[in-house]
Structure formats: structure tokens, C-alpha cells
Symmetry: D2
Subunit: 338 residues, 4 copies
């Protein structure tokens, strides 16, 4: 059960609600987010929620049978839109493209990329500054100083930044220089990090784990939401299977299932979801038809010289061609299929 | 290396070619198909194929580095079209829909389905008469007698039949009553069956194994082609993974990869690829954008009463709605994206 | 429910039983095996089986809640022993080793192998004559003529033969020349083949599918048993997973689970279950401790020259060393751990 | 290449080595651990390492072709033993058992468990105080205060503690109260945590990820070692596959492969590796035969009342029976099979 308190609920009113729930053996957790003051109550399913609904200080009550609650579509049927900015909203009818290199490398690279994005009407740039790498000897990113340069250039050009946070201690350092925190696949169940991102007022994009289930992704989102932050994007980025013909198996089924189960926007990552340049276009267009709200795509001025993930990065020409097709397909979907 | 002999090659000319290959330690296998007389030669990769190309009786020679040969796009760049009939071709620019129940149940069911298909311009009906079932106690299909009734009704209405053959002994019995032989996922590496289907002049649709790799599917097709039958359809029907939110993981990546690697048409099976009615529409439309040439879809007049697979079958209204979207999406793709 | 009829049940008695079951909406299937005359009845679980148990002509009745029936340990608690021969029994307290090459190659190879096996007290030889191969261009076995030579040499030396049958048409041809039919992983759900092996009075070893579930293996065994043949060995041979450090993931958990769920003996195949010579010893010894009844192991006089699977075959020295450890471990287990 | 410096290497000597490596385009990383001062140099494979080996200040040089270096058995052939304490060493010929509840619940539970462990000669107790849980609403552990009580009781009874650290900020708080840091499966690639544990002088046990590869586990260990801490235990705890008959697929192949590839001890977790009480005994004994150095086992005075993982916990009687078999099997292995 999810209870939404009124903004001006008195502490006496609140205590009365908690008392009734306690008497009925409910476990409760409060979540004060940007939008509302929720109380998640977990317990017996045959409880008459009208008892709570009629109490003073209570704005609304919803029964949610799913194991995750606040991220479930059972209580919030309308899809959620995430405002990155006055101009940039994810999860409306359009299809949002975030693009940029796997790794931020240097100032010159950022400038050329920002120029390219502006020319092509993309207003969110991706780019890793902290890189999770299997081997300790691989390039691990330019770090916080690189992020500051990245931010300066983007800010000057009206471009928003999405980048990965690997560790809760980095949150404060990064906060002023990013617009969307990304939680990587390897940190998808780093629960302390998710808890900490629940305390932050910036959007968080959570990638599904390497072999994460759809339910685990929703639970990870529930950590952030119940921690106090409802600005969440879910990201399908391919799963690990036995097939070796490509890097990961892009789980297209996950898109309509996530949209059914949750009200949160779904972003696809065709770069990691395939690991192969030639597959990015067909999988992105497929993802649009399957219901995705946006894509995060690795692009590079010279993929063959990229410090990481070159084999799955598009060059500028390929990106422009893809963007044109994305827009046509997204328009087609909105006009003819809704 | 693939050598195409001229139709009127003399036995002396043929022997000379084989002699040269033998001297150069090539292993050879001849494949006489509906269209041509091929010689597949496997051996050293630095052989100068012009030596063969210039010989009498040889029409063409192609170098193919892939482990599969005849099904590879390395020698046949243009996509293959499979003629089911003078009117029905799969693999052209359109998108072919084959639809029908999981299992053929009775005459009445067939008649209503055929009526529905005709009204909706679908000219290939699916329907299992031999059903592979995990348990020996499950319904195992109406068998050859059911097939004859199925055929009679379809024939009278100009509808083609695709149905599964489980065993090579069934091929002869079924031959006169079907238009496309389907090899099921569990028989995807039943090599004796594949060998036998190479001897037949009817199209064969091969489903990918439950956990079959993309290469294994192509090898299975190579069995049929090298056996003498080039009328082959490849079918992606979802793979087995750890995820339990649906029945199978539809491998959308497989579509563009199969189209890159092979010249054969790719059919998708969104019914088994998802196992869930609500996913069939988004996955089918996604499949079109990813490059599929057609879909085989389970539909039933009353899915809730189906003898098998009801939970993944569309009813007639849902089917009509989907067909409309399939046609719009296929048109859009052909007009705006090519 | 499993009903065991008395040997001399009259047809009237039989009909009375069927009538009662029919009235109570049970679906029935009779299985006349080497040992007994079973009637499997599937239907409502709250039926009082004593009604049947008290009828004339009925020897015994058992309630079995599992979806598979005759292979379940629910009705036959004591492990089944399979007699290959007066001297050779599988599934008793010992641990049976079957060994030999992946493929039968020639007479000389068979003779040396038989000599080696005799010297080392192994009395079942494996060796493929029909080889299931992904590619149609790979070596596909010496066929039935090779089998006859294989048999002649083994027969003369008191060695039993286990070899793979790929196709139901081969059963009759092979019958006189083999002692155990092996169903390969790729044919694990070739239901027509399983049905046909149910009609045969020779033991059948069924390998688990490439990505077969434990339940699917038991269902495949149920096909053979319900078809009339209770001489069945279950074989764990590794499953397909994402891990690439070896060929297959040997599923050691499957051994105790199969022993819990079924009364049939469990054979392990450490050669395919690992794909790597150095892993065969540790995995075989582990398998003994986990409860396996035997192992089928690929060995070759000169693995580096084997026509197939050389990288996972032991040479004669390695085999002797392993056999010594197998015997010690099996003895240890029987003496100290039971 | 791994270079071991002499303890008293001068800074001039060190610089000369670095200079030569730099001239030859090697990337280097120094690792000062409890035992030695290593320099890992990554670069061209045809470099003559004797050039370095002959330099002053250099104790030894090893060529290591694996992508991981310090954890590889290529340079350190003899298995590493980890001293937990003067009395307790892991990785010697014996087999170390660590046991205890999934979650620490209260003082009384700890006391009874400690008593039981002492009586049964187990000197390392497991018990989670920070619990990684998919759902934010599940019990998440008694935290640092619980750990202090846990420690007090264990300390008084000579029992060592292994418990999970979820977040690098917890390391300092936990340091005085634990003997082995455990990195959980979900944190197996939390690289910041691994980096931080490299700075600590206490043993670290790293669990393989939910779908982690064997190489990824070795890379994670390389993070800790190259960070400065060589006291590392590798833990196989089952992987995620399609099979639903149990919780995880225990990867028995991983044991001999890890022992081949690395010099570090391998611990098995049969509790998570199976998820089922009845499988713990067979899998543990199998693990001993496959080469494991120890096991971490979930036990509980009353499994049916455990706050987590009761279905996979042994009670005290079952534990005693298992311990007896573990000791016999370990002795057997050491005496008869080495």
C-alpha cells in the first residue's frame, strides 16, 4: 500500500496513521521526494485501504500488489516524465537521444563533440570520467578534473551531461557538474550507492545489471525512489547469455515489460546492447517501436582511435544518418500507431 | 570455395575440376539444388580460385571464408527470395505474415481460421499437427489425418500451409499436404532430418534451437542447402536465458546479424519469442525495423480455449489491429528508410 | 497415479479399472515394460487411490505428484539397477566406467582400445559411429559397417558397446551390434526417437540437452519408460552458459537433484561437461562424491591425433591414473560415507 | 612482466628500472604489499626480461602472459597460504570450514553459535551485519553496533569473523571488529571498494559475481593485490543460468580452473551455490575432490526461523554430520590422492 500524505499534514495526523498501520502489523517506510510525501506500508493484502483513505492528512491511498511499490504502474498509471531542465523532458511522446564518447579524453574532443551535438539538436551528452574496468591496468577515466572541463564546455553551449557515478563518495564532488547521474551495470545492485542517490535532487539513470533480472532493476529503482528521489530513468543495455556472435543480448522484451510494470521512462543503450557498430541502427529503431523513451548512444569523431569501445561507436556521419531515421521513426510511431 | 558448374558440364570437365581440387588437398561436396549445381570445396585459403574459374564447365567461383558456405552472404550478396507459389514470395521488400493456431484442433477451427485469414489477406496458415511436447502425456497433435483435412480446406481457399515435421519418416506422408516444412527448435540440430529435407523440393523453415547459436542455425541451414534444397527460411524464436519475466528472450540482435551473414530470409516468431500476448505487437513491429522478412504468429479464435499456447495467442480482433500496424510499419520502412 | 497390474489380469478386470478411472475423468496410458504392466492415470489429485488398490487384477497403486510419473522416486524409492548383462550392472553401489574414443576410426584403433580396456577391467566401451556434427562438412562417422567391426572385436573380448543412435530408422540396424543406445544432447528432445526406444529391450542412456532443464531430461526418460522400456540411464554432460573458460558448465547440482527426483541411475560425462583434459579427473572424482553411478569418458591412444574431441580425451597413462583414483574414491565413499 | 624489487632498493636504482621500461613503452604500476614490492609492467611480449633481471635493486623478474598478473600462477607456482592468525591458515593441505548464520540476529544467537562452533573445532564464523537485499524493504542487517557485539563474543572465545563489507566508507568502521572482509557477489566488480581493500592489511574474500566470469573474478582479485594487499581468497558461489530446479548453478569446473590459473586459495559457498539444504553435503564433498581449499556454509540453530536464507541453512545436527564427512573426505584426499 502507498499512502500519499497531504503537504501540511500535522504530526498528530501522521502518528494516527502510523498507529493504525502498526496495529495491523504493517511495516512502514516514509519517502519524502521532490513531489510528494509517501508512506509505503507492507503487510496483509486484505486490509481495507479506505480506513486510511478517510483519515485526515491523507491525500490518497493505493493498493500495490507488486513487491516493488513506488516504481510500480499499479498506483501511477500515467507514464512519468522526467524534467532534466525547463527545455528537456524525457518520457514524453518524443524520443530522447543522449550521445557522446564512451570516455571523455580531452578538451579538444569535448569541444568537437559539443559542436556536433548542437548542430544536430542533441542536448544531452554522455561521456565517462570514472570508468569501471575489469582490469586495474586499463584506462580508468580522466576523473573529477576532467569532469569540470567537460561541464564548463557543455554549460557554455547549453548541453546537459550524463555520466557514471561509481561510488557514493563521488556524489558530492560531481553534483555541481552533471545533470544526470548514471549507475552502471556493475553497480546496478550497489545498494549503498542507490540509497545515497535517493537523497539527491538530480535525475538518476540506472542500468540493468550484466545478468540482472527485470525485477531487480525495478527494485534498484525502488531504492532510489523510496530514498526520496523520484527522477529515475531505467536503462536496458543487454544481458549476458551464451551467444558469442555479439557482446550482449539486447533484451527487447524488457522494454514493453518495463513499460507495463512501471511508470518510469525506459532508455535503451544499443551500443552496449550489441557491442557492434552495424547493429546500432537496427536495434535503436526496433527499440523505438518496442516503446522505448530514449537512447544513449556511443559516438566518436574517430571511433578507430577511441580510448575505449571504439568497435561499438558510430562516427559523425553514421550518427547523422541514424538521427534522421530515429526522428522519422519516432514521428511515424506517434502519428500512425498511437 | 563455392564452384558453380554449368548446367551442361560434361563428366570429363567435372572430373578435371575434381582432380585439381584433390591434388590441392581440398575436400569436396557436390550439391545439386533446384537452381544450380554447386561444388563446395574446403581446404587451403590461399588457393588462387582463378585456376578453377578458367576451367571449362565452370560457371562461377567464389571464395567464402565463413565456416558455412552455401548459406553465406559472402558469395551471394543479394538477398534470396523464396517462392512459395506464383503469388507468394518471401524475402522481397514486403513483410510476410503466417498465422494460425499453435495446434490444429478440428475442422470447424480450421474453417473459421481460413475464413479469417482470407478476409485479412494472409495467405499462409500455420498449425501444428505433430506437436513436440516435453511430457509424453500432453496432447501430441491430430497427426496425418488431421493434416489432410487441414490441407483440403486450405487448398479450396488458396491458403498455403506451414507445419512442423518432427521425423524424417513423416516427410513423404506430409509432402503432398503442405507448402513449407517447419523444423522445430528441439529438432534444430536433428541432422538426419535436415539431410532428408535437403532432398525435398519444398521450402523449409528452420527454427533456432532453444539455446542454439546463430552459427548453429546457419550450419543447420547449410545441411539443407548442401543436401540439394535452397529454399530455406531462418527463424528467430527466442532463446533460453536466466530471465523469468517471460518465456524466452527474443534475440533481436540475431536479425541484423543473420541478414549480414546470410542471404536467406529471416522470419520472426514473436509468439514463442515472448510467450506473452501483450508483447507480440511491440516485438513484431520492432522485428520489422530490425530487418526481418516475415513473422509467424500464433492466433486463435478463442485463445483462452486453445489446446496449447493460449497465453501467447492473439484473438481475431487483436490480430486485425496488429496486421494494420504491421502493414503501416512495413510500408514506412520501405519508403522512408531504405 | 501409477497402477501396477497383476501379470495375469483378465481383460474384464482391466476394463473395470479403466471404467472407474474414466468416470473420474482420468486420462490414462498403459506401459508394458520388461518388468511390469503399468497404467499411468493423470487427473484429480484428491482421488482415493484405495478404490483402485482394492480392485481385482491390481497389484499396487502409487500416488505421484510430480509431472513425470514412472521415472519419479515418489513411487519407487529404491534406486533402480540396470543390468547390461549377467556380469555388468549399473546403479549398484559401485561406480561404472565406460570409456573409449569420441569417434570409432578404424579396426586397429578398436583393437588397441579393447586391449587397454580389458587390461584395466573396464567392460563397456564407448565410441561414436554416427556423429552429430554442427557442420555438414565435418567427419560424420564410420556408420553401420564400422559398427559391425566394432561389435565383432568387442564381442570376442567380452566388452559391451554404448554408441549413439541419431535417428529412429537406425534402431533396427544397430540393435544386434550394441548393448546400450545413447541419445545425444542434440536429440534429447527428439520425441519420435524416444518413443521408438521405448519399444526396444536394450538399455538407453539419455543425455541432457545442451540447455536442457533437469525436468526436461526426466520427461525424456518418461517417454522411453512409458513407451515400454525401463532400462534407462540419465546422463549429465554439462550445460551451455555464458562462461567461456571451458566448453560447457558441468552441472554438479544436477546429480543429487536427479537422484532425489528419480530412481534411475545417473551417469556423468566429464569429457563434454568440461571440454578440457585437465578437468576430467577433478570433475569425475567430484561427481562420485555428489552421488553419480558412473561416468562415460573419452579416451584415445593418441589424443592429439583423434578425429574429434582430442582436446578433451585422456591418453592411456592418464586414464590408468584416473581409474586408480576413481576406484579409491568410490571405495572410500561406500565404506566411510554411507 | 612482474618485477620484485629488493626491500632496500634505492630511489636511483628504482628510477633506472622505470626509465628502461618507459623507453620500451611499458606501462607500469607499483604494488607495495605485506610481503614485497612489486612493479607490474605491461607492454611488448618479446622484451628480454634478463635486461631488468640483471639490474641493481631487482630481486626477481617473471614473464606473465595472462591479462591479470599478480594473481596468476604463471609467476607464483606454489599455492599461496593465507594466515588469518597464528593458528589459522587457509590454503594449506587441510580444508577450512567457515560457518554461521546468513544474518547476525541477536546476542543470544551469536552465543549459541559460537558455543557450537567451538565444540566442533570451527574457528571462523560467518554472519552478515550489512545485508545486500534486492528490495529496500527487506531486513538489511544489524549494522555496526551488531558487529561490535558479534566481535566481543567471538574474541572472548577465540573465534575469527568473516563478514561482508558493502561500501568503502564501512572499511574503517569495521576494521577493528573483523578478521576477513567479504566482498559479496553483487559488489564483485565494485572497483572502488576493491581499490580500497587493497590498502588494508586484512584478508579479503571475493565472491564471484552473479554472472561473473572466472577471468572477471581474477581481475577483481588483481585490483586488491595491485592495490597492496595479497591476502586474498577467491570464492565460487554459483552462477545464474536458465535452470530453475535450484537457486544457482554451482560451477564446479571453476575450482580446478581457478587453481590452474591462480595461486590463490579457492573457497566454495555451497549454500548460495545450490540454495537448497539437501544439496549442501554432496556439493561440499564434491568441492573437496575438485580441489577447493575451504567452504563457507550457512548454518542456523533453527533454520525455519532464520531471518534470511533459512531454506539453504543446515541445523546443528546436520552440520555435525557434514563436518565429520568433510574431515574424512579431506583426509582421504590428502592421503590417497596426492
Amino acid at each position: 500500500m502507498i499512502i500519499q500524505f497531504e503537504k501540511n499534514i500535522t504530526s498528530t495526523q501522521r502518528e494516527r496513521v502510523l498507529e493504525i498501520l502498526s496495529k495491523n502489523a504493517f511495516k512502514t517506510r516514509e519517502a519524502v521526494t521532490q513531489l510528494s510525501n509517501y508512506l509505503v506500508a507492507i503487510g496483509k493484502s486484505d486490509f481495507d485501504i479506505r480506513i486510511i483513505g478517510n483519515m485526515e492528512g491523507v491525500n490518497d491511498v493505493h493498493k500495490v500488489n507488486d513487491d516493488y511499490k513506488l516504481v510500480s504502474s499499479k498506483w501511477k498509471v500515467k507514464p512519468t516524465q522526467i524534467e532534466i531542465d525547463a527545455d528537456v523532458t524525457i518520457g514524453s511522446n518524443g524520443f530522447t537521444v543522449m550521445a557522446g564518447p564512451c570516455s571523455i579524453e580531452n578538451e579538444n574532443q569535448i569541444e568537437k563533440m559539443v559542436e556536433f551535438l548542437k548542430t544536430n539538436n542533441i542536448n544531452i551528452m554522455r561521456g565517462g570520467v570514472f570508468k569501471p574496468r575489469s582490469s586495474p591496468y586499463s584506462f580508468r577515466g580522466v576523473g573529477i578534473d576532467g569532469l569540470k572541463i567537460f561541464y564548463k564546455i557543455c554549460k557554455a553551449n547549453g548541453i546537459k551531461i550524463i555520466t557514471e557515478v561509481m561510488e557514493l563518495e563521488q556524489i558530492d564532488d560531481m553534483y555541481d557538474y552533471i545533470d544526470i547521474f548514471q549507475v552502471g551495470a556493475r553497480n546496478s545492485q550497489n545498494f549503498n550507492l542507490l540509497d545515497a542517490l535517493g537523497k539527491v535532487d538530480k535525475p538518476v539513470m540506472i542500468k540493468r545489471g550484466l545478468s540482472g533480472t527485470i525485477d531487480e532493476l525495478l527494485y534498484s529503482a525502488e531504492y532510489v525512489f523510496s530514498g526520496g528521489n523520484e527522477k529515475i530513468l531505467l536503462c536496458e543495455r543487454g544481458i549476458r547469455t551464451y551467444e558469442k556472435a555479439y557482446r550482449n543480448t539486447f533484451d527487447i522484451n524488457a522494454i514493453p515489460i518495463l513499460k507495463e510494470k512501471s511508470h518510469l521512462p525506459v532508455i535503451i543503450d544499443p551500443s552496449h546492447g550489441t557491442g557492434q557498430r552495424s547493429l546500432i541502427e537496427p536495434i535503436t529503431l526496433a527499440g523505438i517501436m518496442a516503446g522505448a523513451d530514449g537512447a544513449i548512444i556511443e559516438i566518436h569523431e574517430q571511433p578507430e582511435k577511441a580510448m575505449s569501445d571504439g568497435q561499438q561507436s558510430l562516427n559523425f556521419n553514421e550518427t547523422q544518418s541514424l538521427l534522421k531515421k530515429i526522428r522519422e521513426t519516432s514521428n511515424f510511431k506517434n502519428q500512425f500507431l498511437s
